[in-house]
Structure formats: C-alpha cells, structure tokens
Amino acid sequence: MIQRSLFHPANRAKLLPYVTTPLLVALIILIWHSYVTLSGVSPFILPSPQSVWTAWIAMLYDPRAWNHTLMTVYATLTGFAWALVVGVGLGVLIGRFRWLEQTLNPFIVATQVVPKVAFVPLFVVWFGFGLTAKVIVAAVLAFFPILTNTVLGVKSVDAGHRDVATSLNATSWQRFRRLELPSSLPYILTGMEVGIVLAIIGAIVGEYLGGTQGLGYMMIARMNAFATNELFAVIIHMTLLGFIFYFSIGILRRILIPWHQSTQR
C-alpha cells in the first residue's frame, strides 16, 4: 500500500470526526455550563455539568450501581440472543418459503405497527417483577428488525448464486449454511445494529415498570429522590453502554464479513 501523509486529502475526511466530535461535545458542555450559571435555573431541573460529572464518578465507585448495570446488560444480551436466534431462524424460513411468508405476513405487519412498549405492563403481569419480563421485552423489541432484515437478506440472495447451489446439488442445509446465511449476513448485521439498541431500550423500559434492579429502576429511584444530577449520570452511563454494544456489532461486522463492501476502507 502507498503510504500517505496523515494530512493527505484522502485521509483528512477519515480524521475529521476525531477532531470535530470532541470539539462539538466541548461546545455543548460549554453552552450547558453557561446557561446553568447565567440563568440560575434550579439544579433539580437542570444540574450543572460539574455536578453531573461528580455524580457519575461517584456512581463508578458504587458497587450497587455496577450491580444494576450488570442486570441491565444481562437482560439486554439475553433478550437480544433470543431475538437473534428466533429472528434469523424464522427469517430464513420466511425468506425461503413464499407460502409461509403469505401466511405470516399479516401478523408480522400487525406486530410491527402495534406499539410494543404498550405490552410491557402485560409482560410484567404475566412474568412478574423479576428478570424474565425484562428479557422478554428486550427480545420482543430486538426481534423485528432482525427478522425483517433476515427476510430481506434471504430474498436478496443472488439468482446466479442460487443457480450455482442448484447445479451443485446442494442439500437444504448446505444451501442455508453455505449460501443463504453468509449472503444474508450483511443484512442480518444491520438488523442486529438496530436490534441491540432496541434491546437496551426494552430492558430499561421493563425496569421502569417493575422490580428493584437495573439501570431503569435506578433512574426512577433517582428521579423520585429529586437527585437530578444522578439521573443525568445514569443517562450518560446508559448512553455509553449503548455505544459499547453498538460498536461491538461493528467489530463483529469486520470479523464476520471482511469480504463485504461495508467493511472495506
């Protein structure tokens, strides 16, 4: 490969976010700080950046906070794993068999349009205040983007590639393992990127409504205690968690589909 200067035009675009992102974050914090100082708004409404920062650092040293984090992570990942297995499995079948798609389509559309969060109280009624309800909410939310992307992926399998599999007399399982799965992986990963974020939302919303564990519960507790700066700290904490999950899928993308355009630099 040709070595280029760091400031070569081709590299400038790549480096740009590394410069602009910290600058923009700094700007936002500066505006926030100035507003709090100048307007004298109550810290119960909008705490200062410094107090949020201190609250977050304190949170990092608090083992109970880590316990809550772990609960949320557990509910998110377990729910996501279920969504992945069922979503990809069902998605492949629907993508393969037209009759199955036609049979299930009305239900899939219906479940797509219904606001799924509205079912959360029902899940709490059915599965109680424990982890199960949270796992299920996370799974239900993450399921649909994974399913629809998998279906799209299987349907987008190149006709020429299918001809190759047919002329090589591939078995049904070989067709799935050697053709449909790898060919749909870029789509499935896109579904996973959306799904993982929805899974966190699902877990947290589940925690809002029931139980005494998880970051969602922690938020409600801090809100009720009027500790707005700590509430902000939890939000930052959750945002970072979201980033970590999202980027993990990005890393997975690089590992699983190095051949795909989306991975090329």
Partner: protein, 281 residues
C-alpha cells in the same frame, strides 16, 4: 451445411475410470419447453432432437431469445423440460418431475457471470463443490491448487473474488466447474462479459483445457467467430419458437490459433453463418 450422419467421436486419452457406455454423451428427443402456466405462455423451445457424442465441443448459436439458455439450463438440470426426453450418459435427467442427482454430478455449469461467492476466497470457491461432497480440507486445498494452475491463475488462492479481474474470475468459475471432474461442461456465454482481447485468450485456454481433459463441452455464444473458432459442430437455432435451423460441422485443424482466424476456410464459415443468421433473425 447439413448434419453429417455420424458425428466424429474424439479419441482423446484413454477412458481412465469411465466405463459407462455413453460417457459424456447427451441425447435429446422431442425436447420441448414452454414457460409459464397461464395463458400467454412462451414457447421457448419447439420439440428438438439432438445427439451430442462424448468429447464433442458443440456450440449453440442463434439470435437473442431463440432459446439457447433455455436449452442449456434444461441440460444442466436447472429447469425442467415441458415434454420430451433428455438423456445424460444414457440416463434420464428427469423422472416424474424429479431430478436424478447421480446424473447431475456429471454436469458442470459455467454461467455468463462468474457467480463466485464473494464471502469465499478463490480457493474456497473453486473447492466448494468438493466441500459440499465432504472432501477434507487438506485434499480440497491441494485440488484447488491444481485446478487454479490448470486455468492459469495460480497464486490467487487467498484472494477475494472482488480482487480479481473479470477474466480471472471467469477462469476461477471454470475451475470450480471442473473441480469434481464432470464428464460434461455446460457454458452459457462464459466470455460474453469480457473484452475482445481477453475473450480471444480465454478461447485459446478453453480449447487447451478441453483437449487436455477430453470433456464434452456445450457452449452458448452470440459470437459467430467464437463459435467457428471453438466448435466441432455448430447448432444454429432460430427464434419463436426456438428450434434447430442448421447444424454445421467445422472442419478446421486443431489446435486452432490466431492464424486459423486468418485462413480463408475460417472466413468462409463465418460468412456463411452471417448470411444464415441474417436470414432467420
């Protein structure tokens, strides 16, 4: 330009391992294809009889839409004939609407697009048929190396398909079709997407591979000079519905080279075919 009674059987190399009486032979009787089930059905191929003996390089030529691909895909087991008989090595390819898979394993397909799987390296693409048949990895790798050498792209084993030129990809696709050593190679405009120079080169290579392996080759093309250059026999199809118009034996000495194309005999064949093609399209 009339079918000679006995198509010559080529006696390339001893028939090592191939004891079947019809090895590499294809036979069609009243083979017909209609597309669609509802009313404006398309009559893609009128009942067609054709015998392809072992080791022949047969070229299907004809105007667009005359049913060349249809015929080739039927032979390759990708679409089912509407009626008629299709025997590969003496055995029917279809029986009561079920494809006979032992027969299929004697057929290798090369398409207009290379159709390599982008998620497999060149080596894995070429060895894919072997993998599907359960050959262990080390053996597959050795086989792929040999095949890539045969088609002239050694050294690209670990590359992704996207890293190869169109011609190289098509070579890999040919290697894939040869990997399980089918007796018959079916090619649908395999070089149609290549530039003229690469195409000429690929034709030379194909002739070499064909004479080295002694396989039966059925090749579809739009190009008259490609047809004359490669063929033992050219089957000219006419459209609507597709049917055999003319069968032409090409008696030019082999191996054919760039010089062959400059000979009057070659150009006579090309001119005759031009006239005939103009008359039917």
């Amino acid at each position: 330009m009339i079918e000679t009674a006995a198509p010559r059987a080529r006696a390339i190399e001893s028939q090592a391992g191939g004891g079947a009486p019809h090895k590499g032979a294809i036979r069609m009787e009243a083979l017909e294809k209609w597309y669609g089930t509802r009313d404006p059905r398309v009559h893609a191929l009128a009942p067609t009889d054709l015998n392809i003996p072992e080791g022949e390089l047969l070229v299907l030529l004809g105007p667009s839409g005359c049913g060349k691909t249809t015929l080739l895909r039927m032979i390759g087991g990708l679409i089912e004939p509407t009626s008629g008989d299709l025997l590969v090595e003496g055995r029917p390819l279809w029986r009561d609407g079920v494809r006979q898979n032992e027969v299929l394993s004697e057929l290798g397909m090369v398409f207009q697009e290379a159709n390599l799987f982008p998620w497999l390296t060149i080596e894995d693409n070429v060895a894919l048929p072997l993998e599907l048949k359960g050959m262990p990895k080390a053996e597959r790798r050795a086989a792929a190396a040999k095949l890539l050498k045969m088609v002239g792209i050694s050294g690209f084993e670990k590359r992704w398909p996207r890293e190869l030129s169109g011609g190289m990809r098509q070579r890999a696709a040919i290697a894939r079709a040869l990997s399980y050593d089918p007796h018959i190679l079916l090619m649908d405009e395999p070089f149609g997407a290549l530039d003229a120079m690469t195409r000429d080169q690929m034709n030379l290579e194909l002739q070499r591979i064909w004479s080295e392996t002694g396989k039966t080759v059925v090749l579809v093309t739009h190009s008259i000079s490609e047809a004359v250059f490669l063929a033992d026999r050219i089957v000219l199809l006419s459209p609507r519905p597709g049917k055999i118009d003319t069968i032409l034996n090409v008696d030019l000495p082999r191996p054919r080279t760039a010089e062959t194309q400059a000979t009057p005999a070659f150009q006579d064949y090309v001119r005759d075919l031009h006239h005939r093609l103009a008359a039917i399209s």
